[in-house]
Amino acid sequence: MDRRKSLKSILLGGVASGLAVHGCNPKPEATTEETLAVNKYAYGRTPKEQEAIEELLSETFFKEHEMTTIAALCNLILPAEDGLKGALDAEVPDFIEFMVKDIPEYQPTLRGGLMWLDHKCNTEFDVEFIAASEDQQKSVLDTIAFPDITIPEAERPLEIQFFSLMRNLTLTGYYTTKIGIDELGYKGNSPNVWDGVPEHVLQQHGVSYDEDWLAKCVDQSKRGTLAEWDENGNLLT
């Protein structure tokens, strides 16, 4: 079973049996997934860069218990509710596992912070974080989730730095996936013709275009016409 699916099933429960049924499916699903994993990160890498990525992907940093705890945290930071997808739908724990190998400076903060969480829950409730009730979990998070930003980050207690980093990674991990980008409403990264800010948006923000300025700008209906100038640099076309 794929580690990602197992994490999700542990957290959300119930899915596990569904997966078990799936596992009996005679279709050679595993082969397809392997091919996908190799091709997943084809984005103009040099051979050396590609190798480095594959090496990072083949390594495992977080232990099972740590990954489960990370998944629980991600789910508290961005839960799936009210029809919205959550951090687990966007596979954020896998992203965090990659980043902690890509940026090893994160390792002591994340690993240490996870230990702190369990210690705190053991002390207060006699259970590890993942076994605590949601109310208990939140009562712990409430003590570390609100940093005093007048203090430089590096001078804040480790557990506060830890949660800030978890929140940062969870949000970045979520909003850089298709799910997150759709939710955000980012509309670009596709060929188009820019022809200025929509009029009603200008009004919403209390600004407007200068007529003089607009007169200098590109007439998009002529963008395909070959540029020609007179000898003084006046565009003729």
Partner: protein, 572 residues
């Protein structure tokens, strides 16, 4: 180890394939000359799906575009960076320099900002104005015809404004400003700081049948697959090949030195093929160095012989001296009036649609020379770092910062597109004692002695940067913005960026009429050896508050014309 010699004798060997090398390749090959181009990195074509990063989504990168490997982010097209494995450089203690190298066909033109500014008449004659540094031996009128030709060949959008030191040209029409740029215009004008359409080399309109027109993805730093922005490969070298030019490309080949004969004239270059790590020699009648200001200086200094014991072209001892980069500093602001934005596609061209050229007179200021202001902002595509410190701006409204749960989604939306950044890029005064030299104690992995940098800002630059910050804050407040991150003070030299960091380093083989105080003449020909030319930014006497690329292109064209002419007259 025996050096492997190629039997071909080239008319011209061009070292480096960036702006200067690309232009020389085009002009010289189209004049019918047989040209070898030697490039230290691999072949690169942004239209090759294997190399393409344009129009990729952040999740196609496992690090979501983070800058762990490529310093300008995982999708930036430059192969290289501030540090390259196996190719170190050193710094004199107590000084600092950052050296960005892009090892690939087209060099650093693949990812640059495409801000394409002509130098103005004053920029060539600064000593006449403030008594500092030196004048160029040439003036604007010498370069103007070439700027005109570069505009028409490559394409640059902008507007003719009749400004005294920011000359008019042959511009394509600029794109309309984005929302945050309208805020900038409003804020700047309130303080009588002028704003104009920016001048950048993307095709907002068709310029020829070989290149596409900009489709506004905002990703010029990823290199354009339809060749709608300028890079040396797509706009100079490929067209030159297509025009039937006799061009042999030697990629992954690192030039070690220029070889010379008993009369001291250049006979070609020796290089290391990075793939088999063997040394090779190429023979040529003329050598054109375009490896970048510092790399060309390094090659010259490493080209020692009986005839040139101090390095090639270095009888003056000036090679490597007068190294100078643009000054720079940045600041960001949160603009409450840009909160709660409706989203639409405003990617635009890659970079700013408007800018502020230098607008003041130095008589009333405590520093020489000027700077221009660049800015950024908008509804950009999320990448690594998006959502970090998601609701820090709550502090401006007395609301709690941090938390967890779905309230964070509202914060994300609320603040998306509400930040504006500003950057000042200014002119430093070239100093003889800011230099790079060979560190004879160290070599790179190819056995070539490396460069050691020795560079310190002077009070001129630090005071200029202080002024930048005062200006930024004024404009930010005019926009109703809250400057972020604290204003850098005297203790950090007002936030001036490290020399080299703006990647406008120039001046290491400067131009002049006096061979005792300069390396090349006004045609960028070595004073000491008449068949070696330099067409990168090394010959710049001063670098203006402009980005150097357009001037590199114009001067490379001018030098190439001169080479063709001199060959015709059999002077070389």
């Amino acid at each position: 180890m025996q050096i492997i010699e190629n039997s071909t004798v080239y008319d011209v060997i061009i070292v480096g394939s960036g702006a200067g090398g690309g232009m020389a390749t085009k002009i010289l090959s189209e004049a019918g000359l047989k040209v070898a181009v030697v490039e230290a990195g691999p072949y690169f074509d942004p239209a090759d799906p294997e190399q393409m990063t344009q129009l990729k989504w952040p999740h196609e990168s496992p690090r979501r575009g983070a800058s762990t490997v490529r310093p300008f982010g995982d999708f930036d097209s430059a192969y290289g960076g501030w540090e390259i494995e196996g190719e170190p450089y050193a710094k004199e203690e107590g000084t600092d320099f950052k050296w960005f190298r892009s090892r690939m066909l087209g060099g650093r033109t693949n990812h640059w900002g495409r801000i394409s500014l002509r130098f103005g008449p004053k920029d060539f004659k600064r000593k006449n104005i403030d008594g500092l540094g030196d004048n160029w031996p040439i003036g604007y009128d010498d370069v103007k015809p070439y700027y005109d030709k570069v505009d028409k060949l490559i394409g640059v959008f902008g507007t003719n404004e009749g400004l005294p030191n920011d000359p008019d040209g042959f511009f394509l029409p600029p794109p309309k400003p984005r929302l945050h740029e309208l805020f900038y215009i409003k804020g700047a004008r309130k303080s009588n700081i002028p704003v104009y359409p920016s001048r950048m080399s993307m095709l907002t309109k068709k310029i020829n049948n070989d290149r596409g027109v900009c489709f506004y993805c905002g990703q010029c730093s990823r290199a354009c697959q339809v060749y709608a922005d300028f890079s040396s490969g797509t706009c100079l070298i490929f067209p030159a090949q297509k025009n039937g030019g006799q061009i042999d490309l030697f990629v992954n080949c690192m030039v070690r030195e220029v070889t010379t004969n008993e009369e001291g004239k250049a006979t070609g270059v020796s290089y290391i093929n990075k793939e088999d790590r063997k040394e090779y020699k190429l023979k040529g009648k003329i050598v054109v160095l375009a490896a970048s200001a510092c790399s060309s200086a390094r090659i010259l200094l490493n080209s020692k012989s009986t005839q040139h014991p101090n390095g090639l072209g270095n009888s003056s001892d000036i090679v490597g001296k007068y190294l100078h980069d643009s000054t720079g500093t940045n600041r960001m602001a949160f603009v409450p009036d840009l909160m709660n934005r409706e989203t639409y596609n405003e990617d635009g061209v890659g970079g700013m649609h408007v800018y502020t050229p230098w607008w003041l007179e130095n008589e009333n200021l405590d520093f020489p020379r000027g700077y221009h202001i660049e800015m950024w902002g908008g509804l950009g595509m999320p990448s690594y770092g998006f959502g970090f410190n998601v609701n820090d701006f709550n502090s401006f409204f007395g609301l709690p910062v941090g938390g967890y749960g779905n309230g964070l989604r509202k914060d994300i939306k609320k603040y998306y597109g509400s930040v504006i950044g500003m950057a000042g890029r200014g002119e430093s005064v070239a100093q003889k004692d800011n230099y790079c030299e060979i560190d004879p104690t160290k070599v790179d992995e190819f056995g070539v002695p490396i460069l050691k940098f020795n560079y310190k800002w002077t009070d001129h630059e630090i005071k200029q940067v202080k002024h930048m910050h005062d200006t930024f804050e004024e404009i930010m407040h005019n926009m109703g913005g809250e400057p972020l991150g604290g204003k850098p003070g005297k203790d950090t030299n007002y936030g001036i960026l490290v020399p080299g960091e703006i990647i406008h380093e120039v001046g290491t083989t400067r131009m002049g009429d006096n061979k005792k105080t300069s390396v090349v003449n006004s045609y960028q020909q070595l004073h000491d050896v008449d068949n070696v030319f330099i067409v990168d930014a090394g010959p710049f006497v001063s670098q203006a508050d402009k980005n150097p690329t357009w001037t590199i292109l114009a001067l490379s064209w001018r030098t190439s014309d001169y080479i063709v002419e001199q060959l015709k007259q059999q002077n070389i």
